[in-house]
């Protein structure tokens, strides 16, 4: 029994160990690293709860820049900008992807409420941006029409 629990522990830790051995994340940062459950969640509420967000308030202070029509779902440029003060994280979700959470950005120190990246989208759906600031979560959404899906190819 002892051995079994030990093995389980080792397996769980091995993923973390890889990150540590990469030598780039301090052990402290690793504890909070990569929210697997959030990325594997199959629905938007599940993904958000994986990030510790239960409710979001719609906010007009979040601007999502994304194309109205994305010809290629494999590359959808998304820019999220917010004027909300004290932003601690910005998450980008594609509502109808198999796993909606695409990226989560943790902002620290002097970082501004601005991130841009490119995401894959399976089909036409809303891109949702969730901004965490001062312990509260705000969201905004924008419809993106996808003509060729980008997941699975």
């Amino acid at each position: 029994m002892q051995r079994r629990t030990f093995m389980k522990g080792t397996l769980a830790a091995s993923g973390v160990a890889v990150a540590v051995s990469a030598g780039l994340l301090s052990p402290r940062a690793v504890l909070a690293a990569w929210p697997k459950s959030a990325f594997e969640a199959k629905s938007v509420p599940d993904a958000l709860s994986g990030l510790g967000i239960s409710t979001t308030a719609t906010s007009g202070d979040i601007k999502i820049k994304a194309p109205d029509i994305a010809e290629n779902g494999a590359v959808v440029p998304v820019t999220v900008q917010t004027s909300i003060a004290g932003v601690t994280s910005i998450s980008i979700l594609a509502e109808k992807n198999g796993s909606p959470l695409t990226a989560n950005f943790v902002l620290k120190g002097s970082a501004q409420g601005f991130v841009a990246t490119r995401i894959k989208m399976q089909k036409t759906s809303a891109v949702i941006a969730v901004v965490k600031a001062g312990g509260k979560a705000y969201s905004a959404r924008k419809e993106v029409k996808v003509t060729i899906g980008g997941c699975g190819g």
């Binding site: 890889v18 796993s99 990226a103 902002l107 620290k108 002097s110 601005f114 490119r118 995401i119 894959k120």
Partner: protein, 105 residues
């Protein structure tokens, strides 16, 4: 990966630096199938990207497989001066990682 996988640039406008980065990475979701063999292509994607300003972390990105191939990332931070160092480090789910640094111009 003989060539550097990160292209990094940081510009300064009124003390706010805009960092733009292009990373070369396959970003396999693990859901795609090889058309010839019908086997799934194993997942291989960047999980975390850390951006530092003068050695202090300003952004930590946590990515899933749904970030596009050869990802583009841009972020901004305040309090930048010309010549400040900006460092970017990524690590993927297979334990690979790489970092690059540049100066704010």
């Amino acid at each position: 990966m003989a060539k550097k996988s990160i292209r990094l640039r940081a510009s300064n406008k009124g003390g706010v630096a805009t960092v733009k980065a292009l990373i070369t990475h396959p970003m396999e979701t693990g859901l795609r199938k090889n058309k010839k063999t019908g086997k799934k292509i194993p997942a291989h994607f960047i999980q975390t990207v850390s951006g530092k300003h003068n050695g202090k972390e300003v952004i930590l990105c946590e990515w899933g497989g749904a970030v596009s191939k050869n990802p583009y990332l841009s972020f901004q931070f305040a309090g930048a001066k010309k010549g400040d160092s900006v460092e970017l480090t990524w690590s993927d789910n297979k334990g690979g990682s790489e970092s690059a640094s540049t100066k704010v111009r």
